[in-house]
């Protein structure tokens, strides 16, 4: 007995296709579905904050939502991890957090596209964060930036072994930053897709064969419950991953902002 579940291709939802082909000087600048959903996310974030920035003493619903976002980034990320010297980086971390969270959440809507499930998008965001670390590190400390790789208070015999490890762990950071967001988003969407395809596939099989295979209706119902549960999980993951990306950017920035006098 073989189950034929129809044409199931869980990777199809990640295909990028051109909506408005634009080509300038041999460079492909087409508006793809990825670009479209990034633009939608960016404009929704902007609308959210324009609507919420009202400066009332007793805040309305939208204003208190915006303020709690601000408190989260200011209090438990920038304030807790970098300290007062991190205030100049607050707008960057805040933008990163809200933009990634919005892209993740929009991607959960049916028939939409998750921009963060493209490695190119997450790698670009990671490059911004690591680039900022380099700019701040070399800009403020010059060649003293390389003290980052030498743990303080370590005897030189031990440092011979520790410095290569520190350099290695520093150089995998952009890859882990990009891979984490991409992997979580992609794996989550594939999982939801597979369970959703079981709902229809098992139901159609049971309807077509009758007899003992009527039991598969139960499997179909369980899959439907799993889809609902996974969607809730994905909603949590969407925010947690945005939070983690922004918090790790904070930690990496902290090392160069407070270089030498640990924090």
């Amino acid at each position: 007995m073989s189950l034929t579940l129809g044409a199931i291709n869980p990777m199809e939802q990640f295909l990028v296709h051109r909506l408005v082909p634009i080509e300038i000087g041999g460079v492909d600048l087409s508006i793809t579905n990825s670009v479209l959903f990034m633009a939608i996310a960016a404009s929704l974030v902007a609308l959210f904050f324009i609507g919420g920035a009202q400066n009332k003493i007793v805040p309305g619903r939208l204003q208190s939502a915006v303020e709690s976002f601000y408190d989260l980034v200011d209090g438990s990320m920038v304030g807790a991890m970098i300290g007062d010297k991190g205030r100049p980086f607050l707008p960057y971390i805040f933008t990163l957090f809200t933009f990634i969270a919005m892209m993740n959440v929009i991607g959960l809507l049916p028939s939409s596209f998750t921009a963060t499930s493209q490695l190119a998008v997450t790698a670009t965001l990671a490059a911004f964060s690591i680039g900022l670390v380099f700019i701040v590190g070399f800009g403020r400390h010059g060649l003293g930036f390389f003290k980052l790789f030498v743990p303080s208070g370590v005897h030189w015999t031990m440092a011979i072994f520790l410095v290569p490890i520190e350099i290695l762990s520093f150089s995998v950071r952009p890859f882990t930053l990009a891979l984490r967001l991409f992997g979580n988003m992609m794996a989550g969407h594939v999982m939801v897709y597979l369970f959703a395809s079981f709902v229809i596939g098992l139901g159609v099989f049971a309807a077509g064969h009758g007899g003992l295979s009527n039991l598969l209706y139960a499997g179909s119902a369980v899959s439907l419950a799993m889809v609902v549960a996974l969607f809730l999980l994905e909603l949590v993951v969407a925010f947690v991953q945005a939070f983690v990306f922004a918090a790790l950017s904070c930690i990496y920035l902290n090392e160069v902002v407070n270089l030498g006098h640990g924090h």
Binding site: S76, M77, A80, T176, L179, R180, G183, N184, A187, V240, Q241, F243, V244, A247, L248, I251
Partner: protein, 74 residues
């Protein structure tokens, strides 16, 4: 052995890296919960480190996932 078959086996084996990530996440959340039950007033302050630890642990599993993709598609 056909190269395609070997690739599928290799990609499947690369996924065993997720075993370690699973154990790590279990240890992490179990210990956090234990600590939070013993001293509930300190739990809120440590939650940020819980999520960061989760992210770093997960990365090790995702390395395996990335290796699986590389083996399968190249």
């Amino acid at each position: 052995m056909d190269i395609h078959v070997a690739k599928q086996i290799g990609a499947g084996l690369a996924m065993t890296g997720l075993i370690g990530a699973g154990i790590g996440l279990g240890v992490l959340f179990g210990n956090y919960l234990q600590a939070a039950m013993r001293n509930p007033s300190a739990a809120a302050g440590e939650r940020i480190w819980l999520f960061l630890g989760m992210a770093l642990t997960e990365t090790m599993g995702l390395f395996g996932f990335a290796m699986g993709l590389i083996i399968y598609y190249t």
